[in-house]
């Protein structure tokens, strides 16, 4: 009995509830609908239609008419998922089986785990909207997301085939190089907010204005004005590194389809391939969410109070957070269908000769400004 009493049931159930809400109700649907959005937006950009037919086959359930919502094609992600599950899961004979099977999981899991430290809202019915509010949230996210490279490297290595191998090698060096830039470009934010806890960083932005838009708290002082330049620099380097970390064009060298056929997932099929696919999009969502937390004020919108004033405000905060994420995701998609791809050596040059230096100088610049205005 004492054991049962010692368990903080409220914490356990709310954490469970938050995890289920975040992963199964928000992120996984968001992933599949980001894929759908990617296809529709690319179609928009390329003057095509994109998937606009698939509705929900309600006639199968006994209804009179199928349901095809206003834009059309909204049933596509569900149909895609069903297709992926029903496809034959082929493991080629020449692969290194244990690693070949492990790799897709390693691509998907870290991206999901990083979400646990992410504050996706303020407060809802007295519960803080973050699964684990740890005081080293940012470091935790960097640490876990760098595990994601193993998925790609193992996939390339275990496939025992030349094109995936080249893709794996490319991604190793790319992700390791850009992780450094990403970490360094987040340091100015930590300096300004004075904490590595993501909740604290948001709190700071709620009171002092978003780091990228210091006007949101209604006032502007010299410190904020001076800090604007380093924050913009940090935002740019952080976003570029984020593109590289998530293997999105213009940095999609590991899977550049015109050179390496499909890169590291050439030999994969069915749900194992889908896990890579989902992993990429989950990483994209996690990256966008982190950008929102660090630079765009997290769940905060001007003139909207936090969740302690009522559950309706809490819900609005959550919605505004994911709305900002969606805007960034649109930006991701937009860039992908506009720009060509870098070459391997140019990518390394950009990372090490420009972004790394800018991020490094930016830290000293921020520190100098903070010391000057202290």
């Amino acid at each position: 009995m004492a054991l049962l009493d010692s368990i903080p049931w409220f914490l356990v159930f709310t954490s469970l509830g938050k995890t289920i809400f975040l992963v199964f109700l928000v992120v996984l649907p968001m992933v599949s609908y980001t894929v759908y959005a990617e296809r529709r937006v690319s179609a928009l950009i390329q003057d095509r239609l994109g998937p606009n037919r698939t509705g929900f086959p309600l006639t199968l359930l006994g209804f009179k008419k199928d349901f095809s919502p206003f834009l059309g094609g909204l049933g596509q992600p569900i149909a895609d998922a069903a297709k992926f599950i029903l496809k034959e899961d082929l493991t080629p004979g020449h692969v290194n089986k244990p690693y070949f099977w492990l790799a897709p999981a390693l691509a998907m899991m870290p991206a999901l785990i990083t979400l646990s430290a992410l504050p996706f809202g303020s407060e809802f019915m007295g519960v803080k909207m973050v699964v684990a509010d740890i005081n080293v949230g940012l470091l935790f996210m960097f640490a876990i997301s760098s595990v994601g490279v193993y998925g790609i490297v193992l996939a390339g290595w275990a496939s025992n085939s030349k094109y995936p191998f080249l893709g794996g090698i490319r991604s190793t060096s790319q992700m390791i190089s850009y992780e450094l830039c990403m970490g360094l470009s987040a340091v100015p934010v930590l300096l300004v907010a004075g904490s590595t806890s993501l909740s604290k960083i948001i709190d700071y932005q709620v009171h002092e204005g978003w780091l990228l838009l210091p006007i949101t708290d209604g006032k502007l002082n010299l410190r904020e004005l001076l800090l604007f330049l380093p924050m913009v620099l940090a935002f740019i380097t952080f976003t570029i590194s984020m593109f590289a970390e998530t293997n999105r064009l213009p940095f999609d060298l590991p899977e550049s389809e015109s050179e390496l056929v499909a890169g590291y997932h050439t030999e994969y099929s069915s749900m194992k391939f889908a896990l890579f696919f989902l992993g990429e999009y989950t990483a994209m969502i996690a990256g966008s969410a982190l950008t929102v937390v660090l630079f765009l004020g997290g769940w905060h919108l001007p003139f909207i109070p936090d969740g302690s004033h009522g559950p309706i405000w809490g819900a609005i905060n959550i919605a505004s957070f994911f709305g900002k994420v969606a805007v960034l995701l649109f930006f991701f998609i937009w860039v992908r269908w506009t720009l060509p791809r870098f070459r391997y050596d140019q990518l390394m040059k950009l990372g090490w000769l420009y972004l790394f230096e800018i991020a490094l100088v930016n830290i000293f610049l921020t520190a100098g400004i903070l010391a000057f205005t202290h």
């Binding site: 030349k162 490319r170 050179e259 056929v261 506009t338 060509p340 791809r341 870098f342 070459r343």
Partner: protein
């Protein structure tokens, strides 16, 4: 169900006959650190069935052996077994991105042997055919190159415009893809009503798209970095390897058959031939972009002075008479029968005619011993010749450069393998 896998020994002739590759890797690659990468015949960047055997040191190509012939159909031999007009559909399948230009080049070659010159209207129609084909081919060439470099959107934009060219082909010949429009001594039919207006509409619509592509790529830093000083073909190399078309001109050689040996009255049109300076992928891209604009200019001039009159040569015995007279007159019926069963009565002799096709100089060498069938025909296809330079320029470039170079050379395997 029990099954077993069995190893088949598939003789890889190219890899074995080129013992050179193995020997070279034995002497230079003592540590066994080099990777033999088989690129193609079905690889997204090889546009068809080109196969490249790349010896790679990390990402850098140290040796490249192109292997062609996967699409070989024996067109030259087939030509010996049919009369001249029956071969026209085969020319569609040479450079299948510009079938109209192939039709015209072939017809001009046979007509040169016959000593025929088309009336002005026929020539004007053929100029329209050639320039439409050039725009269509270059749109795809630029789009594919952009796609290989990663800019998918450009490809789809240019492809939309190509559909409009196909619409025009359909108006003209009834077929969108395999046009088979020309015959020896003329065309299958006159331009349909409304065609000229449709061409005018098309050239007004295509220029903004070319400008769009320009704004998406030409000053795009990533694109320029990927193309500039990549796959440089020097002037000397270009001449030594007998390149032709935009690939030759990008290397700085002022050679355009439309200017050097004018045919179809090209000397009466006012157009510029764009010349590159370095011969890298970027120059080749720029040349194609400018050639499209010049083609639009030529089309405008043709449309402005589109002549009236007959479109075919007047030679009752060697060119099929119009269908209306075939059905009503005795003599025409006989000629119709003769021309369609035995072909035009081509004099004995040999002839070479090269036309400036979108990909380069498409030449037909015809050796005739008289009668309706060639004794021997040789097709000088620009893609075949242009690809010969690959093993010279690929070594030293990176894997990503290989696709950029392949895209910028703009070849078609249907024409290369014939």
């Amino acid at each position: 169900m029990a099954f077993s896998t069995k190893e088949f020994s598939a003789p890889d002739t190219i890899a074995k006959s080129h013992g050179a590759l193995e020997k070279a890797s034995q002497t230079q690659d003592l540590l066994g650190e080099k990777l033999i990468l088989n690129m193609g015949p079905s690889h997204p960047a090889t546009h068809g069935v080109l196969r490249l055997i790349l010896e790679m040191d990390g990402e850098v190509v140290t040796k490249a052996i192109p292997d062609i012939g996967y699409l070989h159909r024996g067109d030259e031999k087939i030509a010996e077994n049919m009369h001249y007009n029956q071969f026209v559909p085969y020319t569609d399948r040479l450079d299948y991105l510009a079938p109209l230009a192939n039709n015209v080049a072939y017809a001009l070659a046979v007509e040169k042997l016959m000593g025929w010159t088309l009336p002005p209207r026929g020539q004007a129609i053929r100029v329209i055919c050639c320039e439409l084909a050039r725009i269509s081919s270059h749109l795809l060439g630029v789009g594919c190159m952009a796609m290989d470099i990663g800019a998918m959107t450009v490809f789809l934009h240019t492809f939309t415009e190509r559909e409009k060219v196909y619409n025009l082909c359909e108006m003209l010949s009834g077929a969108r893809f395999t046009t088979s429009y020309t015959r020896v001594g003329g065309q299958t039919r006159d331009v349909p009503p409304g065609f000229l207006a449709a061409v005018r509409k098309f050239i007004d619509e295509v220029l903004p798209v070319v400008d769009d592509v320009d704004s998406l790529l030409t000053r795009n830093r990533i694109f320029v970095d990927r193309c500039r000083d990549v796959g440089v073909i020097t002037k000397e190399q270009a001449i030594a390897y007998a390149l032709s078309g935009p690939n030759l001109r990008a290397s700085g050689v002022d050679h355009d058959l439309r200017k050097r040996q004018p045919y179809l009255g090209y000397e009466t049109y006012d157009f510029e031939v764009p010349i590159g300076s370095i011969g890298d992928c970027y120059d080749r891209y720029l040349c194609r972009m400018e050639e499209m604009r010049q083609s639009v200019g030529i089309l405008r001039q043709v449309l402005d002075r589109f002549p009236d009159g007959p479109i075919n040569v007047e030679d009752a015995k060697n060119f099929a008479p119009p269908k209306t007279t075939v059905l009503t007159k005795m003599e025409e019926l006989i000629h119709h029968f003769i021309v369609h069963t035995e072909g035009p009565d081509v004099p004995a002799g040999e002839v070479y005619f090269g036309a400036e096709n979108p990909k380069g100089e498409l030449g037909f060498y015809i050796n005739s011993k008289g009668g309706g069938t060639p004794h021997r025909m040789k097709i000088r296809s620009p893609s075949f010749v242009n690809l010969s330079v690959l093993s010279e320029i690929l070594p030293g470039s990176m894997m990503s450069d290989v696709v950029a170079i392949l895209g910028s050379l703009d070849f078609v395997m249907g024409e290369c393998d014939r």
